[in-house]
Assembly symmetry: C2
Homo-oligomer: 452 residues x 2
């Protein structure tokens, strides 16, 4: 791989120029006034592929387009689907940016701009690694299929719709998918994210009396919708952090001893975590460590609640509402969890209250640690970063990973080069330039490792 | 009493003119633009007393003035403090009034105007009964002390402040107080309200992490302030409607068999009550009827709750809050209940959450049914309304009643001539003119009955 590594070293300055060029395009997918810029970013990405002589298509969707390109099939070697996104989050509050969000600026070894880490900088790492192979060896050791979308920050409707088509299933057929849109475990410690949680998200509304009532005259006889909603929500979990919906844990994939040992070996302490978030104590499911609870156990969180007034008015309100979610883990089935939750709440709904529950869900996923693709990724990252990655899970959900599994039948390798303090979605987003180059190198090596 | 009754009959037209005259003054105490009108109403009331030749004073307070007048002391007979208020609620939404709120209009035996029942119409009943005695007999059978305030609708700060002074305690010294500012049990069925609930009102705030956190990345380890507040509030009461704060029921005055029989004999059904408020079922403390629960048992109601957002954002919010109250009954002590509640919530506050609780309280009151004043009032109402009153309690709080007990050491007779559908505080407020005249007659007879 010396030829390829040498090419990457020689091109480092050009890579940073390319990154700045893409970062200057204000491709905010949520901002209708920026739709021309989003399209310009799609064209920029397509131009990169076309410059390499790859068959490239800008695929129209219900929203912003997908950019698709592929390298030739390599007989007997796997096909790798590389996913990324060229759209970015809004930039408000603008006054908090030290340098303007669309004027990429280098400071202290980092590049500052909206999209630096999420996901333009990370997305470019495999994209810039491809010419290293093509220019030095004329071909790649595996087939690459790139699908780069422009709606990740607004729900990926276009890509999700496209994936349901037979044409997409044929075109995107592959053996494994790769995404660089997550974080390392910490500075200098790369990671492979091999598990994500799923989610069951609920909107709950409770209606009581026809109109607000005086709590003196009516209190004690009329069921108060806020009282009811607090009781219902509190009944969903016990004081040991166990969710009370019947059958909730039936399908939960238990943590293996290997995983528990790996989590325990990570440089993580509750004390530092409490300091980071500014709390004096932690809670959660009994019998599990903080990392286990954050990455591999189901949770219950209420995200919003409302009812009545914040003034000192002694009324029984007519209505109250809340939204809440369970984070799910493999192999919990969201429709089954949603149905059981509905039955649980309906059964406990007190007289005089009517509840309305709507929900949506997404499954959690894990890539088996024994997968040869995981081993290949581990070796590639060691080449790129000079250090073996740790294996981590992530408590959030990346719906496209679930969708790749459901629509294409493949696992996804989450190989992220970001850091927790990159200010993703916030002012002063940054990406470490050294990690940018290490990520390009790791990507170039990944293809070699996937085709032994 | 034939002479007095005849006088009242002869003056009926004049009484209605007087009522309309007062109702035309837009004395909205909450509206700073109406302060001149509020003052005008005070002067109108003072003018009534002066026309009778009574020593009268308009007492300045921190806010709107009190109007004070008294009749001569009658040796060996009780002194009766008559309370009322000349201020009214705002009138919005104005477009819902069939006739303008300050143009009193007679329709279907009622007079429609803001303040018709609350409290100008009711307040005038004892005030107009006084000249019946003075003009026919030259004196009253008891001493009357009138205190009519202009801030009842905005918290009575002026009167409460005045009551704390030694001068007030001397001037308002009396044997019993009378207020006509409540309702009959129903049309044609007058009532004596002999009990009111007290209240302990709480503002609860819960703080968790320093800032909102992603529920995927942090959920399962960080205590969610909304989860915490729901659990804390739900823990305050069990599924049988029993409040769980230790010692909460220790001082609750039990319902006597006589009271329970009286309540049960009232023309009240759960079915009609459910229909009235638009619910399919009722709840409350086990072992008590709906009227018992509304009038004579403590309650727990959450009036407002907030935290997070109503959008589908999967965050753990940094803060949440709620306000709630217990309605208290005699002889519960608000400071004791507040302290016990604070300890109860603090003890259950989960790790990682800090709670802040502020509270205020007012005691519940009952006038013993065995009181000779209650019997006197019962006979007077029978004279005025042609029907014996029923004895009822009211679930709400009238703080001035507690204050009269605490500052003056006297019980209050709540003799109300209104009806539940009088649209108090709402558009199209009304007062039945027949009840207005019956109320004047009952007041005139009350003084006779109080001085047997």
């Amino acid at each position: 791989m010396d030829d390829i590594d040498a090419y990457l070293t020689a091109q480092a300055g050009q890579f940073e120029d390319d990154l700045c060029s893409l970062l200057r395009i204000p491709s905010i997918s949520a901002d209708t006034a920026r739709h021309g810029d989003v399209r310009q970013a799609a064209d920029w990405v397509a131009g990169q592929f076309r410059d390499l002589g790859l068959p490239t298509e800008v695929i129209q969707t219900s929203g912003h387009p997908l950019v698709y390109a592929e390298t030739p099939k390599v007989p007997g070697k796997p096909t790798v689907l590389v996913y990324g996104h060229y759209d970015v989050q809004p930039v408000e509050p603008l006054e908090e940016w030290i340098s303007p969000p669309f004027e990429p600026t280098k400071r202290g070894g980092n590049i500052y701009a909206r999209g630096a880490t999420d996901d333009k900088g990370q997305m470019l790492t495999p994209l810039l690694a491809a010419p290293a192979w093509l220019k030095t060896r004329g071909k790649l050791p595996v087939q690459l299929k790139f699908v780069i979308e422009g709606e990740e920050e607004v729900g990926s409707d276009g890509l999700n719709g496209y994936l349901e088509s037979a044409a997409a299933k044929e075109r995107l057929a592959c053996d494994v998918a790769v995404i660089s849109d997550t974080s390392q475990f910490g500075p200098g410690q790369p990671a492979i994210t091999y598990g994500l949680r799923g989610i069951a998200f609920f909107w709950l509304k409770a209606s009581g009396p026809r109109q607000d009532l005086h709590s003196g005259t009516f209190g004690g006889a009329v069921t108060n919708p806020i009282n009811a909603i607090c009781r219902l929500l509190a009944s969903l979990i016990d004081e040991r952090g166990r969710i009370q919906v019947p059958g909730f844990y039936d399908d939960v994939a238990p943590l293996s001893d290997r995983e528990r040992q790996q989590f325990a070996a990570l440089p993580f302490t509750d004390a530092a975590f409490k300091e980071q978030i500014g709390v004096k104590g932690l809670t959660g499911e009994e019998g599990y460590t903080t990392l286990e609870r954050r990455w591999a156990r189901p949770t219950f969180d209420i995200h919003g609640i409302w009812g009545g007034q914040q003034v000192s008015k002694t009324a029984i309100p007519a209505k109250a509402g809340a939204n809440f979610s369970f984070r799910l883990v493999p192999n919990q089935d969201p429709p089954k969890i949603i149905a059981a939750t509905r039955e649980f709440l309906q059964k406990r709904c007190p007289p005089g209250i009517e509840i309305e529950l709507t929900a949506r869900g997404a499954s959690g996923v894990v890539v088996p640690l024994e997968s040869p693709y995981v081993s290949a990724a581990s070796r590639a990252i060691e080449q790129g970063f000079g250090r073996r990655p740790v294996f981590i899970r992530e408590g959030g959900s990346i719906p496209i990973v679930t969708n790749f599994r459901q629509q294409l039948g493949v696992d996804t390798l989450l190989l992220g080069w970001g850091l927790d303090d990159d200010n993703t979605h916030s002012p002063n987003e940054k990406f470490c330039l050294a990690d940018f180059h290490r990520g390009i190198k790791a990507s170039a090596h990944l293809w070699q490792e996937l085709a032994p």
